[in-house]
C-alpha cells in the first residue's frame, strides 16, 4: 500500500516525511530571487533570477539572458535578452547558483 501511495505523489504520505518536505521547500525558498544559471538540453545557457518552480522542476527565470553554447567564457557571443522565461523541467541539464548567494541559504551549502 505504501509503495502505491508513493507513486501517486507525495501528497498522500505527508505524515512521515513532513519535515523533509518542509526542509526542501525552505531550501528552494532560500534560492528565490537569486541569480541562477541553467543549461538546457540544446546547449544554450540561460542566466536570470530564480522566480518560480514546481514539482516537475519547471523553472521560471526573470530578466533572463540567453547565452549560446560556451558557458564558462562570457566573452564568446553576446547574450540575448529574453525577459521572463520558463524552462521545462525535462530540458534542464544543470542548475548553478553563485557561491556567495548560497551563504545565506541553508541546505545547499553543506555539499560544497
Amino acid at each position: 500500500m505504501a509503495t502505491m501511495f508513493e507513486e501517486n505523489g507525495p501528497s498522500t504520505h505527508e505524515q512521515p516525511d513532513m519535515s523533509s518536505s518542509i526542509q526542501a521547500k525552505q531550501k528552494l525558498e532560500g534560492l528565490l530571487n537569486k541569480n541562477m544559471r541553467i543549461r538546457m538540453t540544446d546547449g544554450r545557457t540561460l542566466v536570470g533570477l530564480f522566480l518560480c518552480t514546481d514539482r516537475d522542476c519547471n523553472v521560471i527565470l526573470g530578466s533572463a539572458q540567453e547565452f549560446l553554447k560556451s558557458t564558462d567564457t562570457f566573452s564568446q557571443g553576446e547574450p540575448r535578452v529574453l525577459g521572463l522565461a520558463m524552462i521545462p523541467g525535462h530540458h534542464v541539464v544543470s542548475i548553478e547558483v553563485e557561491a556567495d548567494s548560497l551563504e545565506d541559504s541553508q541546505g545547499f551549502v553543506a555539499k560544497h
Partner: protein, 724 residues
Amino acid sequence: MVIKSSVEDDDSGWGLGIPDKMKNNANWVDITHDFKGACKELNLGELLHDKLFGLFEAMSAIEMMDPKMDAGMIGNQVNRKVLNLEQAIKEGAIKVKDLSLPELIGIIDTCFCCLITWLEGHSLAQTVFTCLYVHNPDLIEEPALKAFALGILKVCDIAREKINKAAVFEEEDFQAMTYGFKMANNVTDLRVTGMLKDVEDELQRKVKSTRSRQGEQRNPEVELEHQQCLALFNRIKFTRLLLTALITFTKKETSSVAEAQKLVAQAADLLPSIHSSIQHGIQSQNDTTKGDHPIMMGFEPLVNQRLLPPTFPRYAKIIKREEMAAYFGKLIERIKAVCDVINTTNLHGILDFFCEFSEQSPCVLSRSLLQTTFLIDNKKVFGTHLMQDMIKDALRYFVSPPVLSYKCCLFNNHQAKDYIDSFVTHCTRPFCSLIQIHGHNRARQRDKLGHILEEFATLQDEAEKVDAALHSLLMKLEPQRQHLACLGTWILYHNLRIMIQYLLSGFELELYSMHEYYYIYWYLSEFLYAWLMSTLSRADSSQIAEERILEEQLKGRSSKKTKKKKKIRPLSKEITMSQAYQNMCAGMYKTMVALDMDGKVRRPQFELDSEQVRYEHRFAPFNSVVTPPPVHYIQFKEMSDLKKYNPPPGSSDLYLAASKHFQQAKLILENVLSPDPEVNRILKVAKPNIVVTKLLAGGHKKDIKVLPEFDFSAHKYFPVVKII
C-alpha cells in the same frame, strides 16, 4: 555610422540586473541534484514562488524549447565572430573596392531580396541592414556599389515615408522602426539618381565595347564579361528607375502619377533579363545544411541583434533570389494599377476602385501609394479637387438633390447653402476614413468597418434633419418641388454598403461556422439587400424627377425637341447586381435551412453559449445604426419561422425554392450587357448550385448523413455546395 556604437563601449548596457562579477566568471556552484531533489518534494501542481510572483505573472513567461515561442531554438547557434562594417573592413572580411562583377551582382541581388522581405513585414534591422555596406555608404570606394547602396537606402526611406503617411498598416503588415539607421539623408535624391546614372553610363560603355561584332571569333571570356556587365547594368538601371518612380510619387502634380507609371513600366521590362542573370552573382559560401544561416560577403544577419526586441527570431527568412523578379513584377503591376486611380473622377467610382484593388490583398507599399495618390497631403483629392466638391458631385450623380441643381432656387439661397455646405463638410471626415479603411489589410478592414458605422449613423441623423429643413425651405419657394430624403437616401446607401461588406467579408475571412451560414445569408437577402434595392430605386426615381423638371424648364425656353431616346439609367447596373446578390443569398439561405432539416449541418453542443449569443455577436456592430434598424434574434426567429406557412415547407420545397433563386440570379447576370469578372465569378457558383439543389430536391442522397462541402474557390462570398 549608425547609432549602435562599437561593441566595447556599451558593454555595461545589457547587464540588466546582472552583477558585474558574473561577467568575471563568478563562482558558480552546481546544485542540479539538490535542486531537482527538492523539487520532487513539492506537491503536484504546487508552485514555489515569491510572494510577489504568482500564476498570473508566470503566464507571460516565454516557454523555452517551444518552437512557437522560443525563437532562438533552431539553427541559431553560430560559431563565428559578428563584425560590424568598420570591423569587417579592418579585418579584411569585406572588400570596399575592386569588387568583381559576380560579387557586385550577388550583393545587389541579396539586397533586393532583403528589400522585398522588409516590404513583406520584417524589420529593417533584419533585412536591408544585414547588408553591412548600407550602414555607411561613405566608406565604399567602388562607385557602382556606393551608388547602389545609396539608392537602396533612398528607396527604403521613401517607401517608409509613404507607408507612414498613408497609415494603413498594422504591426502584421509593416515594421516602421528604423533603429536610428541613417537612410542616406545627407545626400539629395537628385544626387543619388545622378550617381546611379553615371554608373549606368559607364557600364553601358563596357557593355558596348564587349559586344560581339559581326564575323568576329568570340572569346568566351569576353562574352562572359559582356553578360556580367549587362547583368549589373540592368540591376543598377532597375534601382534607378524604381527610385525615380518613388520620387515622382512624392511630387504634387497629377501628371507625375502618369510619369511614375511610365517609369515602373520601364523597370518591369528589365526584370526578365535580371531573372535570367541571377546565376552570374556569387552565392552564400558557408554550409547551411547544419541549420546555419546563409552568409554572403558583405552581409551579417546578426549584426543588429542587440537592437531587436527579446523574442524576435534571430534571423528573418529572406526570400529566395529566384522569387525576386516575380515579386518585383507583381509589385510593379500593383503600382501600375494604383496609377489608374487618377482616371476615376467620381467619388463612388473611386470607392469602388479602392474596394476592387483591396480584393487582391495587395502589399502595404502599393496600398499606401494608393492612399497618398488619392489624398495628397490630406487636403485635396489627386491634389486638385476639394473633397467637399467630390462629395457634392457624388450626391448629384446619385440622387440629384434639388439643392445642388443649378436650376433650383435653393442653389443660390443663402440659408440652403449653409445647410448643405455644413452637411458636406461633416461628410468629409467619415468618407476619408472610409477610403482609408479600404487601404488596410482585409482582416483589419472588417473590424474598422464595424466601427465606422457609428460615424455614419451620426451622419444619417444629420442628413435627415438637413433634408427636412431644405424641404420646408423649398416648399415656400417652389411648391411644386420636393426635397424629401435626398441626402438621407445617399447616406443610407453607404450605410448599407458598409453593412453588407462587413457581413460578406466574414465569409472571405472564414469566420463563420457552417451552422451560422443560414442567418448570415438570411440577414443579407431578406434585409440588407432588400433595403439596398429600395434605396437604389428611391435614388433612381429622385433622379428621374429632377430630370423631368429640367426637361420641362428646357421646353419652356426653347421649342427644341428633347431626345426621346431612352437613356440607360446610371444606377441600373448596380440595381441589377444587387438583385443577383440577393438571389444568391436567398438561395444559400434556403439551401442551408433545408440541409439542416435533413440533418446535414453539424451543430455544436451549445453549453456555455447559444445560437442567440452567436447571432448577437455577429451583428453587434449594427446596433449603432438607426436606419436600417437592427433585427434582433427574437425578431429573426419570428420572421424566419417556417410554421407561418400552411403547410410548412419541407426540405425538398426549400431546395426547389433555392434552385429557383440560383436560376433567377443566373438569368439576371446573363442579361448584363458588359459582364465584368465579378459577373462571371457569380455565374460559376450559380450554375452548379442550380443543379445540386435540384438534385437534392428530388431526394438525391437524402438519407446519407455525410456533411456537404462548401467550396469558396470560385467566389469569396458564395460557395458551391457539394454533396459527396
